[in-house]
């Protein structure tokens, strides 16, 4: 019983984080049909922002808000620097520019800050634990679950109830048609990048909170997680991204609990094998989503 509760909390908190990461990647993919390889660097940007404002002594929540806003800002910047100038040219061009932007940001951090990990300020509550029904768990895990629930609800509301959300869903299938109804292309794309940055920023608080420090390469793992989650969930569907995130977390947590100690260091190999099995069974991912329009 205790083990089960422990498992559920671990699974849900990891799944919530994965789902938000995946959603941030797929919101841009859905509209541009392009993977933003500089996505992980948004988490790095949020981390270094926390580090840089850490000395100011302001309440942590303000630091967190500044860090999340920087992530949004860099999300939008990705669009302006890496995507917009070459968007109309070719897929390859955008792949390369988004890689380049990612490398640029990483090297910027290496050069101007340090290759070594930098500790980030964290609120005390992140390191405290709590006992529920005999299970001792970090409060951070519960905060992650709560934040994921709130963020996912807000996101759903935004996409279903607001004009911009409906327009984004429309643009994800027939971009040119949406433009022919008067929906401005740039507004949609910039909004997608801003939302992507917001999700990355929010999730980075908990992701970095686990580690307690930020390094120039910190973005790689979240990018990979988001990518795998969207691939198994279905690249064309927002629900798929969330589902994929939770499924990947289920696999990871499940393996953590079941693998014997000496195999645990090979956990990723087991995870990837399962991912391959899922893809063999469902090459398009679990959720198909609407037939998608052409790349724009």
């Amino acid at each position: 019983m205790v083990g089960l509760i422990q498992f559920i909390i671990d699974f849900l908190s990891l799944g919530g984080a994965y789902a938000l990461m995946a959603l941030g990647l797929v919101i841009v993919y859905g509209i541009l049909k392009l993977v933003n390889f500089a996505y992980g660097e948004l988490i790095m940007v949020a981390g270094y922002t926390l580090y840089l404002v850490g000395g100011t002594g302001m309440p942590w929540i303000f630091m967190a808000i500044i860090a999340i806003l920087m992530s949004v800002l860099f999300g939008i910047l990705t669009d302006y620097v890496a995507f917009r100038p070459v968007r109309a040219k070719s897929v390859t061009a955008v792949l390369i520019t988004s890689f380049a932007f990612s490398t640029l940001l990483q090297n910027g951090a290496l050069l101007f800050i340090s290759p070594r990990p930098r500790n980030i300020p964290l609120p005390d509550i992140f390191t405290e634990t709590i006992e529920i029904a005999g299970v001792i768990t970090p409060i951070r895990n519960l905060l992650t679950i709560a934040t994921a629930v709130i963020s996912l609800s807000l996101f759903t509301w935004l996409m279903r109830r607001t004009v911009i959300g409906i327009a984004m869903r429309a643009a994800a299938t027939h971009f040119t048609m949406a433009r022919m109804l008067g929906v401005p292309a740039n507004l949609i794309i910039t909004s997608a990048f801003a939302i992507s940055g917001l999700l990355a920023g929010i999730v980075s608080m908990f992701w970095l909170g686990r580690i307690g420090a930020v390094t120039p390469g910190i973005g790689l793992e979240p990018l990979l997680i988001a990518f795998i989650a969207t691939v198994i969930g279905g690249m064309r569907s927002l629900q798929g991204a969330v589902l994929g995130g939770f499924l990947l977390a289920f696999i990871d947590t499940g393996l953590n609990y079941t693998l014997p100690q000496d195999l645990l260091k090979f956990r990723d190999a087991f995870t990837f094998s399962l991912v391959i099995l899922i893809l063999l069974w469902r090459p398009e991912g679990l959720l198909k989503g609407p037939a998608s329009g052409q790349r724009t």
Binding site: V163, I166, A167, R169, A170, T173, H174, T176, M177, A178, R179, M180, L181, G182, V183, P184, A185, G289, P290, A291, G293
Partner: protein
């Protein structure tokens, strides 16, 4: 309302529109005929701003709008029903229609009134109000895209093969509706494969062949032209 002069457009090396000139007057119904691949859809897309012209000019209401974005064209009062229909599949019928009114979303009451009007014209859409657009039948989707285009309250409507793939009785219904729209003073540019039906309701007609205007005149003149079939099928 619309004047196109020596318009050229294409896809890379493919020149789909090769120096087309045409006019569409206020309240006029003009049809563009031509064989498959003649460049009709490309012409429509270029006028709507979805395809960039490589030469020539487009005027809307006397303003030079050559190379304008699709967003700008719809703001000026041009609505497009593309051949590909492009119903937003995971949006409900109501959401599809509301998005049609995107440019005047602030006029809440007027938009609501127009929505009711569309549901009156197309009761089928009302019944399926909360159904996803992608689950509608082909005919229902065609009704939806026409209604969606009308939601922007346009002055000019471009219709690319509105009867494509519809059952005969539905085709008649669509043509009747086009006449009703014309009666409200809307200017309509209609592309049709069903030449005889289109010529029955049109004021004037152009025949397009290999991206060029092969013939033009009143609907009666074009219908009577003995070589219509040759021009039409000659590709």
């Amino acid at each position: 309302m619309i004047k196109v002069s020596n318009l050229q457009a294409g896809y890379g090396a493919v020149r789909a529109v090769r120096g087309v000139s045409l006019t569409l007057g206020k309240g006029e119904l003009v049809t563009v005929l031509g064989a498959n691949g003649a460049g009709k859809s490309s012409l429509m897309l270029t006028i709507a701003g979805a395809l960039k012209p490589t030469g020539g000019q487009v005027f809307f209401d006397g303003k030079d709008v050559t190379g304008a974005t699709p967003e700008r064209m719809v703001r000026l009062g041009l609505a497009m029903v593309p051949e590909t229909r492009d119903v937003f599949p995971d949006l409900t019928v109501a959401e599809n229609l509301r998005l049609g009114a995107y440019i005047r979303r602030k006029q809440v009451d007027a938009v609501q009134a127009d929505l009711e009007k569309m549901y009156e014209i197309f009761p089928r859409l009302k019944e399926r109000e909360h159904q996803a657009g992608g689950t509608l039948s082909g005919g229902e989707q065609q009704m939806l895209v026409i209604a969606r285009a009308m939601m922007s309250d346009p002055k000019v409507l471009l219709l690319d093969e509105p009867s494509l793939g519809l059952a005969p009785n539905l085709v008649d219904q669509i043509f009747e509706m086009i006449l009703e729209l014309k009666a409200t003073g809307l200017s309509i540019l209609l592309v049709e494969q069903n030449a005889s039906k289109a010529l029955q309701i049109a004021d004037r007609a152009y025949v397009l062949r290999l991206g060029e205007i092969a013939a033009e005149g009143t609907a009666a003149e074009i219908s009577e032209a003995s070589d219509l079939h040759a021009m039409y099928l000659g590709g």
